[in-house]
Structures are given as structure tokens and as C-alpha cells.
Symmetry: C2
Subunit: 323 residues, 2 copies
């Protein structure tokens, strides 16, 4: 069993043992529904993997890891309301299966439960852990607001888009590895290196997610072309908007609101524009370039060489290399 599989099993067992009250049903059923689904549980695995760089037994980091995952799931419950997203991991989103009020309040409770998990961490580290957790949590909210702001903006530059991604997506990876490293007993320089790594990892992870939404892989339970139909700002869209002529820019900016085309036609037209500006290649190059930076950030870690290699393998196996 690899380290990754071992951490995955630890995490699954931990969540399987977690109990929620039965009443009020409408408060806890949506939490169970969301948490039982699991998904990749990438963020809590990063907590454990960071702890495992220095500590032999990572189980002391399980509450912090669970807290990060529960916080992430709370954000999904609320984001799906704000984004009118009917599907999550291939199932109905909470606000659609129940209603927006239920998703709001259950999400609130799940966030509180994430803090309750965090509080089970070693008391002598709690103050610092709470600081790292809060820092990430605030950034995630700022990122979600920026994301909604950018939805209302016509000409979003790729840099502006990536600033949003740093907050909305990467900040929680940064929080996860910082918390894990702190629990593992890492020094300041190591924590900084891991934070730099996680920031880049989060960005690559998101760019890749955007690429897959447009160019395939239905394994993720997502409809291909969903971002195009929703008019979402993605790395692909901002890249093409920056490169395109006025006609193409106008079409890209407005087509998702057009009532004359069918969804299939909209996707085809956007893909046609994308192709003319070579966005698929450009995105794959951007991923490769950042992938290398991400890997290098890990090289100076003070942990044992074979542990760094394990960590690197785990992290990189979560990214789908395109070339």
C-alpha cells in the first residue's frame, strides 16, 4: 500500500466514524449527504501528507485534515446556491435537492462543525492552527466574491482571473499544507516552501479543471462544456479574450446569453473560436510550465529524501499531465 493509499484509508475511516445528530433532520441530512459522497478528498490528504513529511504517525493531524475537508464542503454547499449549480460530483446539489434555505443553514452548521473538528487538534498548536485555518477561510470567501464580480466583467485579464483562483482555490491548499507541516513539526523555512508549492499546485489544479471542463473527461461527473454554457470566466476564456479580435471577443462575451443557439451550437461556436487562438495548446503549455515550478518548490525541503519523493509523487499523481 502506498503512502497515498494509506492516508486515503485513514481519512475514509475517520469520516466513516464521524456521527452527526439525527435531528433537526433538515439541518443534518444535507451534511451527511454532502460528506458521504466524499469526492477526491484532496485537501485533507494534503494535510496528512505534509504532516507525514516529518512525522511517522500522521493520525494526530486527522482532526485538522477533516476540518479542512468539511470547510471545503461547506463552501460547495453555499457556492452552488450562488452559482445556480444544479449538479455537484454528478449528483443534485444540496440547494436543488432541498432548497436554498436548507443549503444556507446546513452549510453554516457544517462550517461550525469544521471548527469543532479543528478544536480536537493538539491544544498547544490550536492557536496557530486556528490562525492558518481562518486565513485560508477568509481568502476562500474573498475569492468567491471576486469570482462573482468577474462574472459581471466583460474583459477579464488572465492575471485578474488567476488572482481570483489564488484566493478561491489555492488558499485552502496553502492552509492545508501549512497546518499539516505545523503538526508534523516543520520549521519556518519548510513551511514557506510548502506554501509556495501549494499556491502553485492550486493554480495548476484549477487551470486543469477548466481544461477538462472544455476538452473532456466525463469521469469527473461534469458535463463537458458546462463552463461555456454558464459563461464562466476560466483560464481558457480569459486567455482567448486577451488574444482575440473584437468580433470574436464580443461573441465569446455574450454567446452564453444568446437565445437563438442550442447548447450544442453554443459549445461548437466557442470551441471554433478557441481553436483559432490555439487555446488548448496554450493551456497545456501553461500547465507544464507551472507544473515544473510546483515540483521545484519541493526540492529544498529539509525532510528525508524518500519522504519528499513520496510527497511529490502523491501531489503530482493528483494532476493529470497533458504532455
Amino acid at each position: 500500500m502506498t503512502k497515498t493509499e494509506q492516508y486515503g484509508r485513514l481519512m475514509s475511516e475517520y469520516f466513516a466514524r464521524m456521527e452527526y445528530p439525527s435531528m433537526p433532520r433538515l439541518l443534518y441530512d444535507p451534511i451527511r449527504y454532502t460528506m458521504e459522497d466524499g469526492g477526491k478528498r484532496l485537501r485533507p490528504l494534503f494535510v496528512l501528507a505534509a504532516t507525514g513529511l516529518w512525522a511517522k504517525d500522521v493520525s494526530v493531524a486527522l482532526p485538522a485534515a477533516a476540518a479542512v475537508e468539511m470547510f471545503h464542503n461547506f463552501t460547495l454547499m453555499h457556492d452552488d446556491i450562488m452559482d445556480n449549480a444544479p449538479l455537484r460530483r454528478g449528483r443534485e446539489s444540496v440547494y436543488r435537492r432541498w432548497n436554498p434555505n436548507v443549503a444556507t443553514l446546513s452549510g453554516d452548521a457544517l462550517m461550525i462543525l469544521s471548527y469543532r473538528q479543528l478544536a480536537l487538534s493538539p491544544p498547544e498548536l490550536l492557536s496557530q492552527l486556528l490562525e492558518l485555518f481562518n486565513e485560508a477561510a477568509v481568502k476562500v470567501c474573498e475569492g468567491q466574491q471576486l469570482d462573482m464580480d468577474l462574472e459581471e466583467t466583460v474583459n477579464v485579464k488572465p492575471e485578474e482571473h488567476l488572482e481570483m483562483v489564488e484566493l478561491k482555490t489555492a488558499a485552502l491548499f496553502v492552509g492545508a499544507v501549512s497546518m499539516g507541516a505545523l503538526i508534523g513539526g516543520a520549521g519556518r523555512a519548510d513551511v514557506e516552501r510548502l506554501r509556495e508549492f501549494a499556491l502553485q499546485f492550486g493554480i495548476v489544479f484549477q487551470i486543469q479543471d477548466d481544461l477538462l471542463d472544455t476538452y473532456g473527461d466525463t469521469r469527473l461527473g461534469k458535463t463537458v462544456g458546462g463552463d461555456i454554457l454558464a459563461g464562466k470566466q476560466t483560464w481558457l476564456k480569459t486567455y482567448v479574450m486577451a488574444a482575440a479580435n473584437a468580433t470574436d471577443r464580443a461573441e465569446l462575451a455574450l454567446i452564453h446569453k444568446d437565445l437563438c443557439y442550442s447548447p450544442e451550437e453554443k459549445i461548437a461556436r466557442v470551441l471554433d473560436i478557441y481553436e483559432r487562438y490555439g487555446v488548448r495548446n496554450a493551456t497545456e503549455s501553461e500547465i507544464s510550465r507551472r507544473f515544473d515550478i510546483t515540483t521545484k518548490a519541493l526540492d529544498g525541503l529539509s525532510a528525508k529524501v524518500y519522504r519528499v519523493a513520496e510527497f511529490k509523487e502523491f501531489a503530482m499523481s493528483q494532476l493529470y499531465r497533458t504532455k
Copy 2:
């Protein structure tokens, strides 16, 4: 200057010094809008007053007190969405002034900021403070869900209503005094007494709020009769529902949805039923009865007699005696 005024000033100064980032504007403007309004700030004053029972300098409790108030304000932002409440303290509620998405996300951020405040408390107490805070926070969510469940229930018994009030309203008072007492250095028996006091105080406070909504006092920035028009379950309504004949029960249960009466007529008809069952007197008796229990809970406290007297005076001055 009385102790209450002194604590009120400390709290106001603390909030006045608190700064929020300027961007993203739609995330932080609603937080500023909500927090600048202030209201009575009763819950944080209870934190300080409980600390002041034993400690001379209560300023060490300011972060915990602020955390309680910020958490309370977060719940108002989200509750107003769920309850479609257009007004809050006489001004537009956040979801109405902006929109539900803004109120959801700003509320989330405000909850996180409340934990950030709490984390500024003495590190050696943080673990216990977090536990008390989380316990109260979860109960408030459970109470809000129960409240929504009871809205859909025709025959709510007064006991069921009060169970909800214990969670939705009283739990945060219980949390406030427990945290304050812990910071002040109280022993276990004193904390238990204060918790019993705060539970009763919270219930009396809510029953009184219900009474004022129906029988007056526009100082609170509320429209008189608002609960009646919204068909809200209140202590008054559940009392009359339990006592009334079938005809009156049916009218009380449905009148807020009736399209034939004007708002004024609805209020007049409900008041007429209320009067026949003597609900005003019954409510005032219930308040008096609980008021006495509330006061007695404070008698066995180990703190200095004059400090207990100050605390009692502060607490009781927040309740509007009806007889």
C-alpha cells in the same frame, strides 16, 4: 458611570477600532453596514459582565465578547434571507439592500471573522473557549432549523416553541456567560449557575420580545403586529392555540395567508382572539414567574456580593418588567 455603561463604552470603542479590508467591496461593505449599526450589543455585554464578576479588568474578555456579537450578527444576515425579513433594526436587511447571494457570502465571512476574534483570546483558554463557542453556535443553527420546521406545523405546543427558543436564542446567552466566567476565572459550580441563569434569561428575553411585537413599543424599530402578519410562531400564539376552540385555532393558523383582509384587519382580528383568551395577562405572568427564577439562579454565586448585585442590575435592566 455604572459598570454597565463602562462595559458598553469598552465594547463600542473596541468595535470602533476594528477594521475590515476595503476589497472585495461586496464582501466587506455589508459586514461594516451590519456591525456599525450596533443594536443593544447585549450578548457581548454579558461576556464582559460575567468576566467582571471575578476579574477587575475585563478587557482580556473583549475579543471573546466581540466574537459573540459578530457571530450573532452573522446569524441575523442569514436568518433575514431565510425569513424574508426586509427590515433589521429599522433599516433594510442586508439581503434586501444588496441581494441574497451577497448576504450569504458576507455572512459566511462574518462568521469566520468571529472565529478570528475569538482566537485573540488568551491561548491557554482557547481550547475551552472554542468548545463553548462551538456548542452555542451549533445550537443556534439547530434552533433556526427548528423554528423553520415549526413554521410549517399547525399546532405547535408552547413547550415545543420554548425548546426552539432555548436553542435559537438562549444558547448564545449561555455561551456568552460561560465564556466570560471562564475568562474571569470562575469555578465549575459558578459557571453552572450562570448557565442556568442565562438559559432562563434568554427565554424571558424572547417571550418579552414576542409580547412587544404584538403589544407595542416601536422604540425597537419593529412594526407592531409584524409577527402576526408573518404568521410567526410566538409564545403568545402557541399559548392561544393550546387554549382556543377549533374555530379560533383555524383562524389563527390561517389568517396570515388570507387574501381578503387588509394587514390592519388581520392584526385586529388576531388581537380580538388573543384578548378572549387573556394572552397578554398570561404572558406577563409567565415573564414574572421566569424572571424570579432567573434572579434566584444568581444568588449562590461565589463572587463578591456587590459584584453579584451589579451583574443582577445589569441583567435585569435589559428586561422590561411588565408588572
